[in-house]
Symmetry: C2
Subunit: 512 residues, 2 copies
């Protein structure tokens, strides 16, 4: 259906004419892995880590701050409550996790964009949270709502991105208490991919649910997951009332949450991979168990955002071997719990989309694919430790996500793939460029980048000897120029806009 | 022992004084993997590929050009010879491969630098073959012997590089027929790491052996592998007389060779992963079998330099999913043959050490670690499809090799690694920066880059907002400035120099 800003203001005719001339673009289905996971923990290591996690939950306990309701739920479930500390008897948290589904569907308003989360799937979502943006022309600056819209548009146009994400950047020009309305509205109207809801306050989570009820219908939302939202654990071992409040809203509404330790190893966890995995497992066990106390069967994801620290500067570091080891290990622990797993992303500490950024990002993207990640936030656009959303890195990373798609397919060995006819036709000393098999298959034989340079040196040099960032900036401009809104029922759009307007008018601006 | 240019010209005293003030630097031992390999081919795929490779050898055959001695050896072994085409009955090549060792030691003149090749080991060697070099200050230009010396020095100073390699760049200012003498001399005198011999002519392979006899003693060379040299197969299915002549020299001398298809998929092999693996296996089976016909027990490595092609431009492409799939699959095939495996490298098509270069390189380095590579040529410094040796990329890549070392170690779960004391000490809501466990372990807890930027944004900005290439150029200058020759018996050095001088004088210069 064609889409206009509202029934009154935009005629459907213009929108339809635009749609007919829209540049075509493809969107890939979420990844279904046909390759094995890499398992770096042996049985002994798993047994030690799982036993230690239970010891942590029982002896040390976890803190649910400012949340008497949570303490009551835990007490009723059999935990030992001391102050706001919840001591969880061995095995209790794991048994509570059993009601969480191993795989669920997150619905998009366009059913072709629905994603399956869990099992052998991998769903890719963009960067989340940066207060700054960077682009090739103007450098680093505070993010605005216009930037937010641009990143949602880039995500919509990205073939290998399955999910529109959430806070692709912070629209710092909008009051803090009203941002979530503009962000959710943008994800609902500028793309038809699935998206995330607000978690910065329980009331904002509730607003997100109510907007989904407008978009999808209340009955549909009551029965289906239409948002996957990010609930960070305040590591070590602390569950604050804001995040738990949002989790409670979403769980009660049957909406999906990622329950995710946020750990810079050495600061929020010990300087050891095994101990960090112990803490991650304890935290996720407690968080997922709590979600199931709120509503048994609520869809949740085992999250692990874990990186290491540079002990010289105190800076978080990315793409490091320890971060990869933790990702691989956490994946094993999640699969043993039968839960979908979130980790990875095009994470980097670099200030620029340069070699450092790419090396660090590639290390993490590869680990995420092979470590069995089911939901990858920050899959593109992340720069400078997550402080910056980079326009150029968004399209460079998004292009590389195609590598993951192809690698995950595994190796075909049907008759065409065996190509014995080609080997016979060409024989020793020949070449395959013109043979019948090549002519029949070359178009889809190899993945091809839409960003990187494959030109001869002389051509590349004559065209300005551009580096990857410069090439990417051209692609950013073209995608934003070619972008067109996907169709949306004007009545629905109007109702969403009215909701946002009414909510914004109901309270004064707040900037903290 | 202190080292001088010759007994007559350089006093040992100055060299000894220099050695005392030399900046200390570490060299890591070769990697022993404590993590599993990723196996992407299932049993059915392996069975198909192995059966098809035997069909290729029997029906299509391989060509040994201008090499009647090779045809005689094959005929005597039971092959069907038609012209220069060798048709190898099913199973014959594989059975001939059985005498090749599964693991061998390549000796360095400093025994602490010996490397084990095969089994769970991974040995890292630098870029091989570029006619051009690039550096940050002066851009791209033809390589010279001075560049060659610089790259050998950088390799010597690189902690994570175990091997000095071979043609780290082509010294184009030296006549083609004399280059090998200067190259081998440089590897023997500027570093004490192991190295490769010349393969561009059988006589140059013989020169390499004779120089090793001077360096190591003839008896030692007769009994031990002191070189690992690169024998490329002229894919598809062709073994030319030059490369086979060099292989024959090395095999008879008990020196190690990598027997390696060189394939740009789509040009030298069909546009399919399974068919390319079939061809790789057929070629390596024939080449390794031939080495064992020349001398049963000669140490050899199953090589696979395979990349994909961009069907739009015809350019080879690197870091692609198909190249990774071929690497993973070839590793499985090599392990089933019980042979050491060579593949991978910091391969890229980019013209600059930028994001493209790093993404492509990281994809291949990660695949090489997880795909079970035992010997990785091109592990650092490769740029522009191998046309260029990059000073800056050399140190960026070499730094990332530290990631592979740490990742390969696997996850420790001893009591210190479990860190239950730290979890108990800190508890919910605390931080780990100052706890006893962190104080005891932070120095070695996490891998740390020697090149990448970990500084706060403001500091980085004030210092010039340098990208990775600019930071790397500082490191290149420092390493070359700090470099000192490792000690070498002056008599040996003099004898090597005399050999080179005599050999050079014995023939006119040739530049083709």
């Amino acid at each position: 259906m064609a889409e206009g800003r509202s029934r009154g203001r935009a005629g459907g005719g213009a929108a339809r004419r635009a749609a007919r001339s829209a540049p075509s673009f493809e969107v890939a289905r979420f990844i279904e892995r046909r390759i094995p996971d890499l398992e770096i923990l042996d049985a002994e290591a798993i047994a030690i880590i799982e036993a230690n996690a239970e010891t942590v939950l029982e002896e040390i306990g976890v803190m649910f701050t400012d949340n008497p309701g949570a303490l009551n739920l835990w007490r009723a479930a059999g935990a030992d409550i001391r102050g706001d500390r919840v001591h969880i008897p061995r095995g209790l948290a794991r048994s509570l996790c059993a009601t969480a589904p191993g795989r669920f569907t997150q619905h998009a308003r366009n059913p072709a964009r629905n994603v399956e989360i869990g099992g052998r799937s991998l769903v890719l979502a963009p960067v989340y949270g940066p207060p700054f943006v960077r682009d090739h022309a103007s450098g680093r600056r505070y993010a605005t709502l216009a930037d937010f819209h641009n990143f949602v548009k880039l995500g919509h146009m990205s073939k290998w991105l399955h999910h529109s994400g959430g806070t692709v950047c912070e629209p710092t020009d909008v009051p803090v208490n009203k941002r979530h309305l503009d962000m959710v509205l943008a994800h609902m109207t500028l793309t038809d991919k699935p998206f995330m809801g607000s978690v910065t306050d329980p009331s904002r989570a509730q607003d997100s649910v109510e907007m989904c009820e407008i978009l999808f219908g209340a009955d549909f939302v009551a029965e289906n997951a239409v948002m996957t939202s990010l609930i960070n654990i305040n590591s070590p071992l602390t569950f604050d009332a804001t995040m738990m409040g949002a989790l409670e809203v979403y769980a009660r509404a049957g909406q999906a949450c990622i329950i995710s330790p946020f750990i810079v190893g050495g600061a929020m966890a010990p300087v050891s991979v095994a101990a960090t995995l112990t803490q991650v497992l304890a935290e996720v066990l407690a968080g997922v168990a709590y979600s199931q106390l709120v509503r048994p069967g609520a869809p949740v994801i085992f999250g692990a955002f874990v990186t290491s620290i540079d002990m010289n500067s105190g800076a978080p570091t990315f793409g490091t071997p320890e971060a990869s080891q933790i990702l691989y290990g956490a994946g094993q622990l999640a699969r043993r719990l039968g839960l979908p797993f979130r980790s990875g992303g095009a994470l980097c500490g670099s200030k620029l989309p340069d070699a450092q950024a790419a090396y660090e990002s590639a290390n993490t993207l590869n680990a995420a694919l092979l470590g069995g990640v089911n939901f990858m936030l920050h899959a593109c656009g992340w720069l400078e430790g997550g402080l910056v959303a980079s326009y150029e890195k968004f399209v460079i990373d998004a292009d590389q996500l195609g590598v993951l798609h192809r690698l995950a397919q595994g190796v075909a060995v049907d008759e065409a793939a065996q190509a014995m006819d080609a080997l016979r036709e060409v024989g020793p000393g020949g070449h395959f460029l013109g043979c019948a098999h090549t002519q029949a298959h070359f178009k889809d034989a190899f993945w091809r980048s839409d960003v990187l340079d494959y030109k001869p040196f002389e051509t590349w040099d004559e065209e300005g000897a551009r580096d990857t960032e410069a090439l990417a900036s051209v692609r950013v401009a073209r995608l934003l120029n070619d972008y067109q809104r996907p169709g949306l029922d004007p009545a629905v759009h109007e109702a969403l806009q009215d909701y946002v307007t009414r909510k914004k008018a109901s309270q004064p601006d707040a900037f903290v």
